[in-house]
């Protein structure tokens, strides 16, 4: 059985449809494309998503995919893909040394800072021609006051053979440890030999070598050793975890650690890559990373609470004294340094 509709009913229905159409609807951004981000896994990847990708990119219609792996694997992938017209990633997170290395190998795009609206706020030292600094920290002296009663004030105090087996170093941080020891022994970032001599003296006195940062933290916690060097940001994380450790900015100037992003030359989505770099420099993202990870912002407009800044940051004098690696020297000598480390120091 069918019922015919009166003209009034039809008009009422049409009005209801028009009214429903005019109701506010959830905003869905136009899809802008996919950004593939090469990054370390763990906390860093999680925080990239929490502080950059979800609030600043995905919301605007970008699809962000993380390619998580250690940096050696990702650098190998970049080298292997070098000849391909289209690579598989749009941005790659690397340390400043590795960014230089990849640039030297001809795999990364020069950064056009004109495409980054947040570039004006970027610290000049974080503006690499081939990459953008995301966060930074410094290699500070650390000690457990229960084990080491006299606080070290310099790398020289840390790398003192008199500490015997109360001095600990980390195997995977051979590059930075060599340079810290060189600075302690009166050498320079491109004059490592005095550092090698000093490390051998410390080794003969009983210095402990731990395989990873985590094993180092365990040793510190169990009081197997009591003095060493570490990134200030990591020290904050350990303090939060209840490990009794105090950080001191070394008198020689803390060795800077910068983590940033590069754009591979064959990035399939270069616009997306620039959008990612710009979002990474956003004030809110930079402030969130300082709170969540203990690293310092690389932009001048980020505001860090004074109490947090006291724990993670450096005084203006300490910032002036920050020491950067000689990337070219390290890059050229990385293999000989590692061979010396394995064959001589660890033998």
């Amino acid at each position: 059985m069918t019922q015919s509709k009166s003209r009034r009913e039809v008009l009422l229905g049409a009005a209801a449809l028009a009214g429903a159409a005019s109701l506010p609807r959830p905003v869905s951004a136009q899809p802008k494309g996919r950004i593939v981000v090469g990054t370390w896994g763990g906390d860093y990847a999680r925080l990239l998503n929490k502080n950059i990708e979800a609030p600043l990119l995905i919301k605007d219609g970008w699809e962000v995919v993380q390619d998580q792996a250690g940096d050696p694997e990702r650098r190998s992938k970049m080298l292997a893909e070098k000849r391909l017209p289209r690579g598989t990633s749009d941005v790659q997170g690397l340390s400043a040394l590795n960014m230089y290395q990849m640039e030297d190998a001809g795999t990364v795009l020069p950064i056009d800072y004109g495409k980054l609206k947040n570039a004006g706020n970027l610290l000049p030292t974080m503006k690499y021609p081939y990459g953008v600094g995301h966060i930074y920290s410094g290699k500070v002296g650390i000690y457990n006051p229960k084990v080491i009663t006299t606080a070290p004030v310099s790398y020289k105090d840390v790398f003192d053979p008199r500490h015997g087996n109360k001095l600990g170093i980390i195997d995977i941080q051979y590059q930075y440890t060599l340079v810290c020891a060189a600075l302690a022994a009166g050498g320079k970032v491109n004059d490592i030999e005095p550092g090698k001599k000093l490390l051998l003296e410390c080794k003969n006195a009983g210095m402990r070598i731990y395989p990873t940062n985590e094993a180092f933290a365990q040793g510190l916690k169990s009081e197997e050793f009591g003095v060493g060097v570490m990134w200030k940001a990591r020290v904050v994380q350990w303090q939060n975890a209840g490990i009794p450790v105090t950080a001191v900015a070394p008198a020689e100037g803390a060795l800077a650690y910068v983590s940033g992003f590069v754009i591979p030359k064959n990035s399939p989505n270069k616009d997306g890559a620039y959008a990612y770099l710009d979002a990474m420099l956003d004030k809110s993202a930079q402030e969130a990373f300082a709170v969540d990870m203990g690293y310092n912002p690389t932009v001048t407009n980020a505001v860090v609470a004074p109490d947090l800044n006291q724990r993670i940051g450096f005084t203006p004098d300490e910032v002036k004294k920050l020491v950067d690696l000689d990337y070219d020297h390290m890059n050229k000598n990385d293999v000989p340094f590692k061979e010396w480390w394995d064959k001589v120091l660890k033998s």
């Binding site: 190998s76 080298l79 190998a105 070598i209 050229k332 990385d334 293999v335």
Partner: protein
């Protein structure tokens, strides 16, 4: 409609005495696996072998050339040959220990009439349910200076200072044996199960003691299983990675971590040559052992 003979109406696939159709020929059946192995293993191996003759230059990473320098560097440097010897020693020690520990266990498993036999086999396989890294992490909690072993020994007054077990060769050997033992036991168990119990009883009835029976009957008959298990555990021992890294610590080096370390330094040519030295040593030793044991077995 005339009735057709049965053979004429039966579908073609029921003609069991016919030659296999082209779709089911041996070549077709073997083909996909062969292509998969060739593409997934042999091609990358061939590329890596070629890389091992290239040279390394820090700025350009890998320079196309043909040189034996990487192999010369390995064999001329006592550090690298030392790593190879350490690897051979650890793999051999683990293999011998696995045979000694695995044979009695496999014998019991093979001969037991218990209704819990399957449960016992599952217990042997249980360590393989977790990855090498997770298993090594377990060993770390056991071996650490404040680990279960040291704390227990100190509480009972056996020791006053914690023993240094972590970051030693002993820790690595213990860790690898734990990984490899199930492979040895399962291989031996399946072979011993195939040996007729009557031959053992015949030996006993002819006056042989348990040791003589083992030496003259069980051992020769289970030799194929021992050989297979030995090859399997030796290869796994030679190529161990997670256990040496996590339990051996920074000063202990085996070939697997050495290969990975070279690739971390972007020195692909030397990393490739170390990988092929490892592969050649493993293949050479297992092939030699195979030939020697088979000759002995034939006698």
């Amino acid at each position: 409609m005339a009735k057709q003979p049965m053979a004429a109406t039966a579908p073609a696939q029921f003609h069991s005495d016919e030659r296999p159709t082209s779709l089911l020929s041996a070549t077709t059946l073997v083909g996909p696996a062969t292509v998969f192995v060739a593409a997934g293993l042999l091609v990358p191996l061939a590329i890596l072998f070629r890389y091992s003759f290239n040279s390394f230059e820090p700025r350009r990473m890998m320079v196309e050339t043909f040189t034996l320098d990487n192999y010369v560097k390995f064999f001329a440097d006592p550090y690298y040959t030392g790593v190879l010897w350490t690897t051979l020693r650890v793999a051999a020690l683990c293999t011998v220990t696995c045979v000694i520990m695995g044979l009695p266990l496999a014998y019991v498993l093979a001969r037991t009439q218990s209704r819990f036999k399957n449960v016992l086999i599952m217990l042997v396989v249980l360590p393989l349910f977790v990855g090498n890294a997770v298993r090594a992490a377990g060993w770390m909690t056991l071996f650490g200076s404040k680990g279960f072993l040291n704390v227990t020994l100190m509480q009972f007054g056996v020791i006053t200072e914690p023993l240094q077990i972590m970051y030693t060769e002993s820790a690595v050997v213990a860790g690898i044996i734990a990984v490899n033992l199930p492979y040895m036991v399962l291989t031996l168990q399946s072979v011993i199960e195939g040996i007729n119990r009557n031959v053992e009883e015949a030996a006993f009835s002819l006056g042989a003691g348990p040791i003589t029976m083992f030496r003259r009957v069980l051992l020769p008959l289970s030799l194929p299983g021992i050989l297979a298990g030995t090859i399997l555990t030796f290869i796994l021992g030679m190529n161990a990675y997670a256990t040496p890294v996590l339990l051996g610590g920074p000063k202990f080096k085996m070939m697997g971590p050495l290969v990975y370390g070279q690739f971390q330094l972007n020195n692909w040519p030397f990393g490739a040559s170390v990988a092929f030295v490892l592969m050649a040593a493993t293949l050479g030793l297992t092939a030699t052992a195979n030939i020697l044991v088979q000759r002995r077995f034939r006698r």
